[in-house]
Each structure stands twice: as structure tokens, then as C-alpha cells.
Symmetry: D3
Subunit: 287 residues, 6 copies
């Protein structure tokens, strides 16, 4: 299903539960502005390849646009528009003084050298320079955009502007002003929500609960750790794109994550029943 | 056929005739940046309607982007991208220090009141403010954007900037700094080309040439006048979306245009054979 | 008495108590800059009415200008100049890093529709745009300028600038970044001063003190509440522009304010002797 | 009579002769913005004196504000407002792409040293910096503001901006980009109008016409020269604030102006009957 | 030894202890940009003297340039370059988000009147305006630049920019936003380091330690106080450019500093053996 | 001799011939501001080399700074300062509204690849961005900076600014807005001066004059052509760094220049006596 269509459907489903004037609802159905860029990159082996990129600004009534930039071959205008729309809603619900933005480049980063990746990243930040900034739009990392890429974005932005403004991009390395807890944040945020949900259901503190984690990338592995360390619960099932593991007696974080780190996959882990993977995006809870 | 596909086809056809490095050719295949806007307009009768609008910047190697803004229900992202691509080529061939731009709003202006039209036009110029200006992009009128609309554009732009900059938009009324000959320009330009073509063919000055004009709007009517007055030739056939007229003895400009002005159509003109219209965009020559 | 004359008189009275070089005193006698605006508003019923408005910047040696904007038919250049002069002194005495500013529009808001009020407010903020901002002048609400009007000001300012800058105006609704305690602030500030004054006089904690409150608008009603709740004292007299109430046994906040809310006046309150009003601006203490 | 009242009266008198919508007429009755400045000047002998100054922007629909700056003890807010209103009308009638502006400082320049005059002039240009510029408001000289003062204005403006922009002020010395014919312009313009008026009356070329000139400052003396040199007419009467001269046989320009230059007055000129002066502002024709 | 040569030598000595790519090391050998200014000052007695001044920006990878401005006859391009290079290293080691900058004017301030000093200081800040600011370069006081000079710098900067920005310069007086502890900071910082060093050596708390202080200006006198008050240790030797004092029983801070304040020198202090001075820059520890 | 010392000497020699207040003379002895840059270039073969570069702004009283940029291993701070000083004088004497500027990079361009040269050139223009521009400083080509390099400068400048501003650099190729006659200008200017000098001496038109040209690069070869074509004179001697040629019957332009183009030297030309070269900078006249 087209992601923007999905957003619109959810918006309609939400309407009965809130008071919103029809004209504001109509405005929420459309991104305020979408910038599409064609980014030429001179390849190491000669020649130029042009990449399509976007940045969608859905709504900034509550503050500067905020949202990640993803690098993926399947990224499309409709995807970044939908993701920016969800960011508007997420920031508003969380009471944050930010609006909804999102960006992306249609690129398979495995096909680029480090030099080409830097050139592409700097071209994107340069093309967005008059469209971003601490007071207008603060991009963040997302799929396949790591602290190194955020540094290239920020450095390019600062060069164009002619001043230091580390607040213009989040997700930088801490030495450039990035937040210390950022790499744990998604996994830890998931566990916070799990904890609050358990509390609401009166289950918090019950030690015989069993937890399953679907997705075992950055967020899933850290959630595994916090579920064990902070909530004291037992994870009995985990799954990534290579395999699904099950052990009713528990899958200890340190063992499973060590295997994953070494082999880049859950496949072949010894202390569990293994089956074909149950695919999902990173970090979904199963009880 | 998709207009951008048509541009790309023409580009390939032109390659054998020029010397261009493949990497620059690849860059010319894509617009450098395209801004898509969603413009909410509060309707006179209440409620809000959101209009889609675009501004495409194809290439500015030779100078600020230049190109019209069209208001039409059928305007699409692909159309403005293609038109901006052609503007790059047109400015370069004509030796003008401008690049290729184009914009449009998907709107049927007959459905809007004057007040709504002003609101929409101002919203467009406001949304484009950081994307336009004398040194960056100078929009012009195009389909259904007249001097009044250009004035709203300019006034909005100047208000946002906080200074007078009448050079930021062309096609304003002369009292606001618009060019005196602008309303004649398209028709007159066509007749200049006709004159040069005739000269090249050795036909200039031959009084027995007969001219047909397809399209009878702003450009066609003025071309009719200049063909008679400046070239001294006889127009024997004209056509608009209502009728096609033919009179081998000639269709005098003053009579035909008077009828058109009074009835908004060529239909019903007495001094000629009339048949069903031969549709075409404004101003095509037939000999 | 002309308010600016009053300020100048007070300034002379203060001189003997401080050390100030004559040349700085002379500078304090004049506002550094005063901007006068004529704001045309298209009326709902047709036609245009032009309103006079001002913003006075008295002195910014200590930081950005700070001060409210009042909407009142009697507002004049001299009044806003005097009020901005007092703001300079007030900020300096309080040790705040701000200078003295003040603004106003000569308008009786009861004569405007909501639509006309929005148009007028936006015209004012637009006309002031190059004269205000977080680092230059931060307007606040004052007589008849509520959070809705401050939102229009801020939204207009941000649109002109092209970025989010919620710190450019104070008194916004909390959802747009306004301070949570703002509506209580004036009344609570008055009670803080009362408390400190009582402490200095050795009267703090004496429960048999009787309090009178002159003025019973936003500040006076809240002062009534804090006097009861925070200081534990009894209010025996209150007055607004409709009536003055007296009951030696006390006028309970919840009863009096309920009557005021329901009837928009103190007149007709049952549990007290009533007499003709003792007019005063909002919130004056009587013991 | 208050000058702004005079302007409003003239505006009403003009209405029957033009087509103007009432709402635009109402807008023309008010200056769009007026900036009032208090300019402290450290005196050579110690101490500070604060001067009142203004710049009025009446209307800029046709282009940047344009108008002089006058230094005179009698300058008031109402005078500069009225003069800026007339500038709007004058530019519009002359078909110039400018709006109406005017400024002034309430100062008797005879009481200032050259150093104090420079300080005051720079303070004025500095205070106006965000209110002037080639694209917003281009001040010119007027009563008692000569090329030296315009240079101080321009230099101060350029220093604040950080770039060269000699077009921001007119009336500079030619070496700084001033127009070559400027010092002759007012007198020559008067003679152009006289010539056109004579032509319209069928009197042009009649050598027995006798001319009187009231006012004998910069404009009057040059008018005297052009009347003789360009129109070949005889001036029989001249008047300044010191004396009125009459000689039915003619008052030769070179003799009269030499006397004026040497004595700063017409008083005491030998070749004419002399009487008490007929005061008037500079350059009024009498026939 | 040339200070920049000294920096380069230290850089080479540090290389074996860190991991740094040769290309970044090469970049660290050179200041990114150095601005040299010639500042004309009109002297009180007539005539103009031109002073040479510099601001060196060594590296801003970690944030805005930061570093003092010194006024000294011996200041040279090489000195400010070297000092700015050390600032880069110091900020990086201390984990501060700042880069390395430094400035200076070649001037003996004893030869200038207060008026000339103000003119020179304002000329320097004006010349640097596009080179400094909260987000680019934040100058601080250094040799012979006190809070008054920092105020002139800041005021000039704010006037050029047209807004309040007290964060653009540090070392202002507290009333203009300066830090409260600044005058104690250098001496106190030295004592912090002494305390940490003693702790590392296991000597902290041993009361029989004897302290010598070389240099007795702003930093040395305050260090004397904190050594006594905060560490409870005895200072037995102090030295300034006038004399060196020694008393094995202790040199009490209050007595020594009183003598220094009264006589501007340590020379002639009664309660100690006195010898010829041991020159050093301010604040060196001797144990 | 140090070039700045040479300029100062010339300045003193000129003083007796002009009226200049001593304080302005003192100001002319110093460049107003000099920016020194360290430009790191990543070499094709790996590693980074840092180049020293300068831009000197001597005086801008008459308009934006103007002057070339030279690429030469011997370029130094003192050389660019001296050259910028001469530019101030040259522009003033020629009555041009420009000030004096000059820049340079210490580089032997023969040691750089085209890619490294582009990187270096762009780094220079980027480092100068806030120091140049149509209204502040307009660099031009000079020794070893050709239209390609000027294009890199301009493109970098425009990218940083975010708009088209072809007037920011002169010496671009005509397709980017460069002047058509630029490559002939230096040689032609020399011949104009020769012509005027001859006229003043009463020698213009005498066909038996014999001309010698020292220097035979861009300027010298073209001067040769214009001397023959425009003045009709005979060149009997030419010299470059390879050889000096002499033929009392004349050295025809087309033959000599053809040899020079083919062999990059005058050496080996057949139709003349040849001797060892008389070195001089390009284009010196000998009669």
C-alpha cells in the first residue's frame, strides 16, 4: 500500500476521536512543501551518475521541521511525504515544539565507494541549505545514515552558511555536539513504552513474563539488553532476516548478540530452536 | 506523450549535432531542483481547498532561472519539469544569460472568484519567495497568468523581502515597471521568425504568398495584424477552438479580430467559409 | 497629566538618589526611536479604515527592548513613549537583561469583527517586522492583547522571516511556546510584593490583617485568590468599575469571583455592602 | 496652516479630476510609516544635546521612497509627513518609479561646529540604516543639507552595511558618484517649466518679456543665469531676505550674482532701486 | 624563539603520543585565516596614527573560534598565530566546543588617552565585524584588555549588526552579561590544577607544604588568596617585576596584597627578605 | 627592492605635486585589511599540501576594491599589498569608481594537475567569499590566472551565496558574462597610450618611427599587432625570456608571432639578428 495513502487512512480513522475543524484536517492531508533534487555524483571510475533525492516539509505550526534522512534504493517521493506526515503527528502527540519533516535519497549505498558516498551526502546537504537550519528544519539520521554521514551534512551546511551551527543536524558524533545517548535511544525508548504498558496492565514486576523480539538490528539488540537488565524479564524468541530463534528457557542477551555481531545474522545460533525468519521492520514486541 | 519523455527524446536527437561530454548530457536530463507546494485557499463560501503547485529549476549554468507560470487544471510535475528543460535550451540557443525554469498551479481559474484567485496567487509567490528573485529565478507569465496576477506575485515577493525589486518578476503592468511591448511580443516574435524564414527561402517581398494561422488567441490575433501591416501579406485561413475560416481573397485583420473580440470566437464570422475547428495550441503557421 | 511629562518628573525626582552623569540622564529623557504606522484594514462591510499605531524603543543599553502592546482608543504616541521609558527603568531595577519598549494601536476592539481584528494585528506585526525579533525587541501582551492576538503577531513575524522563532513574542498560548504561569503572573507578582512588604514591616503571619483590592480584572481576581490561599489573609473590600463591596467578615474569593465571572461585574453581589465604584487601574492594595 | 492639513485639502480638491477608489484615497491620506529618532550629540564644549529627527515614508507602491532631508530649527513631524506625501504625488505625476519620502532634523546648523554637524549627520544616517537603501528609500539633499552632509550620510550607511552602495543616497559630490548636473538642477528645472509655460501661452521667443525672481539662493541665482543665457529674457526684479531690487532696464546676472556672492545679500547693490525684501521661499516667478 | 616555531615544535613532540593522520597534522600547522588590519586613529592633539592589528583563526572544526585580544607594543602576526594555534589544542583537550582564535593590536596603551583608546578599540571591533560573532569567533580579554575595552568591542559589534548579542564577546562587565566569576577565574583555575596535582601525588591535605608564586599580577594575587583560603597552605615566596620576597614562616595574603595594591609593587614590603626580582609571566608555581 | 617600500617611495615623490592632508597620506601608506589564507589541497597522489594565499584591500573610498589574483611561487604578502596600493592610485587617476585590491597564491602551477588546480582555486574563492562581491571586492585575472580559473572562482562564489552574480569576478569567458575585448585589452591599452604620447610629442603619423617591444607574452604580441595594424609603424626589435631579435627593416607581426606560437619562444626566428634576451616584465616600449 502506498505509504501516503496509509497515512491518509489513519488520519480519517483518528478524526472521530479528536476535535478538529475540517479546514485544518484538509491542510494536514498535504505536505506544505516538498523539494526534489537531482544530485550528480562524479564516480571514481569516471562518468557522472544522477541520484534523485527529496525533503518533505509536512507542517511546522508547532516549530521547525524535524525528521530523518534515509538512504535506500526504494525511497520515493510518496514515502518521504508519508513519513513527514507521521512526524507532524508524532511530535504533536509527544508535546515537542517541532513540525514534521523527512528526507531521502534513492540510492543503494553498497554500490558507492566512501568517496562517492561523501560526495552524494554533501550534495544533498548543499541542495537543502536554504531549506534547513536550526530554526527551519533539523534533519536527523534514519535508515543507512550514520554519524559519519550526519557529519558530512553538518560540515557542508556550516561551510555554506559561514558559521558554526551544530544544532542544525542531530545524530552527529558526540565530539561534534551529538547527544551521548543517541545510539541507545530507539531501543531504550521501546523498552520505556513496554514498561509503561506493562504497568498499565498491572503486569510490571511479574518475573514470569516471556518476551519475543522481532527485528534484531540496532534497536532490537539494545531492546534485548534493556529488557533483561532494566526490566529483569526473559526473552524467549528473537527473529531477524536470517532466522527466528526460540528457547522457552530464555535467550541470554550477551550470547545472542555476540553471535549476531560475529556472524551478522541470528542463523546458526546453538542454544535455541531455529526456524525460517519472521520478517518485520526493526523492533516489534511479541508477548 | 509525457512531456519530459518528449524532451529527453529531443535531447538524444540533438546529441549527434553538438559536442557535449556525456556527463554534462546526463546532468541535462534532470531538473536540478523541483519545489512542490500545497497551497490552502480559504474559499469565499467557507472551507479550505488545497491546490498543488510546482516550480522547476532545470539548469542555471548561464544565469538566473527564467520561465513562465501557468494556471491550468492539467498542469503536472512532469509538465513543468519538461517546460523548464526546454527553457534551458531556448535561453542557451538565444545567447541569453538565463537558465531554465518553469512553474504552474493545477487549477481551473474559472472556478475561482477574483478574491480566491488573489489568495492563491499570493500563496504561490509567498511559498516561492526563497526560491525566486532577480539573481536566482525570475518568473514570467504563461497560460492564464496575466499582468494582474504578476502584480500580486511581485507585491507578495516585495512584502516578504521588505524592499522594492520590480525586476524579480517580468510581465507586470508597465506602471509597475513592466516592458512596454510585452503584450505584442509573442505574436511579433513569430512574425520576425516568419520574415527571416521567408528571406532565407528567397520569398520575402513576394506579395502573392498566402498565410494561414492556426490558433487565434493573444499571439494569433497579433500575428495576423503584423503579417498584414509589417509583411504586407494576405491571410486566407484562420482557426480557433470554435471554427476554421477560409477565404481565398483574404481575411482582413480588423474585421476578423473585431468579430472575435465581440463574440469570443471565430464562429459566425460572415466573410468566409466556415468549417469545424482545427485545434492547435496558439499560433502555428500554415502556408 | 501627559504620561511622558509624568515620567520626566519622576526621573528628576530620582536623580538625587543615584549617581548618573548628566549626559546619560539627558539621553534617558528621550526615546531612542519611535515608529509610527498607519495600518489600513479592509472592513467586512467594504471600505478601508486606517488605524494609527506605534512602537517606542526607549533604551536598549542592557539588552533587547521589552514591553507590551496595548489596543485602546485612547492610545497615543506620548503614552507609548512614556510606558517604554518606564520599562527601561523597571528592567534595569529588576536586573533583567532587557531594554524598554512599548507599543499600541489606537483602536476600540469592540468595533472590530474577529476577522478585522486579525487583519489589524497581522498588519501591525508585519509593519514592525524589521523592528522586532528575539535579539532586538520582544513585544508582550498588554491591555486588550490576549494570547490569540500574540499568536497572530508571532505567526506573521515568522512568515516574514521564513523561520520559526517563538521567542520573538511573549504571551503566546503554551502550545506555541508560551510560559505556563503567564496568566497568573501579574496577580501573583503583586502578592509576592505584598508578602515581602509585610515581612519588612514585621506583619507577615499576622492573621488579623484585612486587605482591600482596588481593581478586579485579571490581576485583581487572581490576587484575591493568592491573598487567601497563599497568605491566609481576609479580603474585606473589593472594587471594580461597577461597584465597591465591603464586608468586615470577609469576601471569600470563590464566591466573589463566581459572581464576577457570571455577571461581568461586582455589582449585585449579595454578601456585602455595595457602594458606587472607586475607580482605579487594575490591582491597587488598600490596608 | 499645518502642512499635512494643506496636503489633505489639496488631495480632496484633486479627487473630482481623477478616478480613484475611495479606499486608495483613504490610504493616501496617511503616511505608511514614520520613524522618529532622538539623536544625542556630544558637544565640543562637553555635555550632550539630543536632537529630534524624522523620516516619513508616505507610499511606495511605485518604487523605493525618494525625498530630501532638511536641517532646520522649525522642522516637525507634520512637515516631513506632508512633504513625503507631496513626493508620492510628484513622482507619480512625473512617471518616476519612486515613492514618497522625506526627512528632517530639528536643528539650527549655525549653532553647531563642523565636528558636531558631522556627528549629528552620521547619527541620523546610522539611525535610518535599516530604513533606507537603494531598494527601499533613497534620501536626497534638501534645505541646508549639502554634498558634504550627503557624503557623511552615505559613508555611514556603507560602513553599517559593509559594502559600497553609492546609489543609496543622491546629492553626493560627483567624485563619490553624484550626478554632474545636480547643483544646477533646481534652477534649470524651473526655467524648463517657464519655457514650456511660455510656449503654451504663445509667448516663447518674445524678447520684451520682463521677469522677476523672488528668492535668490541656489535655485534663484541659477534661474537668473538660465533665463538670460537660455531664454534670452531680461530680469528686472529680484528679491532675497535682505532686499528687493528693481531696474526696468534689467539686472544682469553676472553683476547681481557677483554682488550676492561677495556680500551674501542683495542689499547694497548699486545698479537698481532697492526696497525692503519680499520674503518667499527660494525661486518664485513673477511676471 | 618565534612563538609559531615553538608551537610547531611542540606539535611534532606530541605526534608520537596520539593517532593523527598526516594530512590533518599538516592542516594543524597553519592558521586557517589571518586578518591583518590597519587602524587609523585621530589623535587628541591632531593628526592620525595608524596601528597594526590582527585576528588569527587557527581551526574551527570543533566550534566557533575562541581566544583573547591583547594590546601590547610587541604583538606581531606570528605571536597571534601561535597563540591561536595553542587555543585550538587547549579547547580540544578540555573538551570544549570551540576552536582556536587570537587577536592583538601593536600598541603601547600608556601612550593613548582614554578617548584614543576607545577609538582604537572600536575601530578594531568594527574591522572584525564580519569575522566575529557568537557562531563564528568569540573574542575574550587578554593582556591589557579589560572589561571596559570588551564593552567598547561589544557595543561596536552590536551597532554594526543592529541587534543585541552579548554572547559575541566574553569578559564584559557583569551588568552587560559578563560572567560573575571572571576576574577570579585565572587564579582560581591555577589553584584547581594545583589541588588536583597534589591529590595525584598524594600530598593533598599535608599542611606543611610550602608554596612559592612567581608573578604577582591579577592571577598571582588571587592564587595567593585561594592557596591560603581554599587549600590552607602557606606561601613563603612571591615575586613580581619589582622584587622577590621570602619568609619561611609565611607571607600572609592580606598583608602582601595590601602592600602591592598601595605601592603597585612588592618592593619595600617589610615582613620578608627581599631580593632582586625573578621575572616570569604571571603565575608560575614553585615548590 | 621590497615592492611595498617601492610604493611608499613613489607616494612620497608624488606628494609635492598634489594637495593632500597629512592624515590621508598616512592612511594611504597602509592597506586597510589583508586576509591571509592557508589552503589545504588533497593531492592526486595522496596527502595534503597547504598553500599560502592573500587578498589585500588597500582603500575603498571611491568604490569596491578591484584588482587581479596572481598565481606564482614568489607571491608574498608584501607583493600583494604593494600591488593593491598601486590599484588604488590607478583607479583614482583613471576616474574609475573602484578602490585598490590585489590577491595571490604562492604556487607554481606547473606542479599541479588540473584537478589540484581546480581544488586550490575553489578553496581560494571560498575562503574569500565574505570578503568579495560586486559591491565589495571584484577580483580580476592576473599572472597565470586564466578564464578557466576565473570561472572556478565565480562558480564557487555563486554556490556559496546561492544566487547568480556574474559581476562578482571579471575575466570570465564571454559565455559566462565576460567582456568580449578582454584578451586584447592590455596590449591595446598600451598602444592607446603610445598613440596619445606620440600625439603629444607631435610624432603621430610619422611613418619612419621605429618601435621596440620588450616582453612578448599576451600583451607584447598583441601590442605588436596593433602597432602595425592601427598605427602603421614598423617594429624593429622584440625580446622575450629566450631571445632578443633585431631587424632594421622590420619584424612583421604575423611571422614573428607564428614562430612564437609554434616554438613558445622567439629563439630561432630566422628573419632577424638574434642575441641573448633582455629580460623584462611583459610589454615595455623602446624607441
Amino acid at each position: 500500500m502506498n505509504p501516503q495513502a496509509m497515512f491518509l487512512q489513519q488520519l480519517e480513522q483518528a478524526v472521530p476521536y479528536v476535535t478538529v475543524e475540517p479546514e485544518y484536517l484538509e491542510i494536514l492531508r498535504h505536505p506544505k512543501e516538498v523539494l526534489e533534487l537531482s544530485l550528480p555524483v562524479r564516480l571514481d571510475g569516471g562518468g557522472v551518475k544522477v541520484f534523485k533525492a527529496w525533503r518533505s516539509h509536512h507542517n511546522n505550526a508547532l516549530g521547525p521541521y524535524k525528521g530523518g534522512v534515509r538512504y535506500h534504493a526504494e525511497v520515493s517521493r510518496d514515502e518521504v511525504v508519508a513519513l513527514s506526515s507521521w512526524m507532524t503527528i508524532k511530535c504533536a502527540i509527544a508535546g515537542l515544539p517541532y513540525g514534521g519533516g523527512k528526507g531521502g535519497i534513492s540510492v543503494d549505498i553498497r554500490e558507492l565507494s566512501r568517496n562517492e558516498l561523501e560526495t552524494l551526502s554533501r550534495a544533498y546537504a548543499f541542495g537543502l541549505a536554504r531549506f534547513t537550519g536550526t530554526d527551519y528544519d533539523i534533519p536527523a539520521p534514519d535508515v543507512y545514515t550514520n554519524p559519519q554521514i550526519m557529519s558530512w551534512f553538518l560540515d557542508t551546511y556550516e561551510k555554506v552558511k559561514g558559521w558554526s551551527e551544530s544544532s542544525a543536524y542531530t545524530g552527529k558524533p558526540p565530539v561534534l555536539g551529538g547527544s551521548l545517548g543517541r545510539s541507545d535511544a530507539t531501543g531504550k525508548g521501546g523498552v520505556f513504552i513496554l514498561r509503561e504498558g506493562l504497568a498499565k496492565l498491572g503486569l510490571l514486576g511479574k518475573k514470569d513474563l516471556k518476551v519475543g523480539i522481532q527485528g534484531y538490528g540496532n534497536a532490537g539488540t539494545r531492546a534485548h539488553r534493556f529488557v533483561e537488565d532494566d526490566l529483569g524479564l526473559t526473552v524467549v524468541a528473537v527473529s531477524d532476516s536470517g532466522a527466528a530463534l526460540y528457547n522457552p528457557k530464555g535467550l541470554p542477551y550477551r550470547e545472542v548478540s555476540k553471535h549476531k555481531n560475529n556472524t551478522r545474522s541470528l542463523k546458526g545460533f546453538q542454544g535455541a530452536e531455529s526456524s525460517s525468519p519472521i520478517f518485520s521492520s526493526d523492533l516489534t514486541w511479541i508477548f
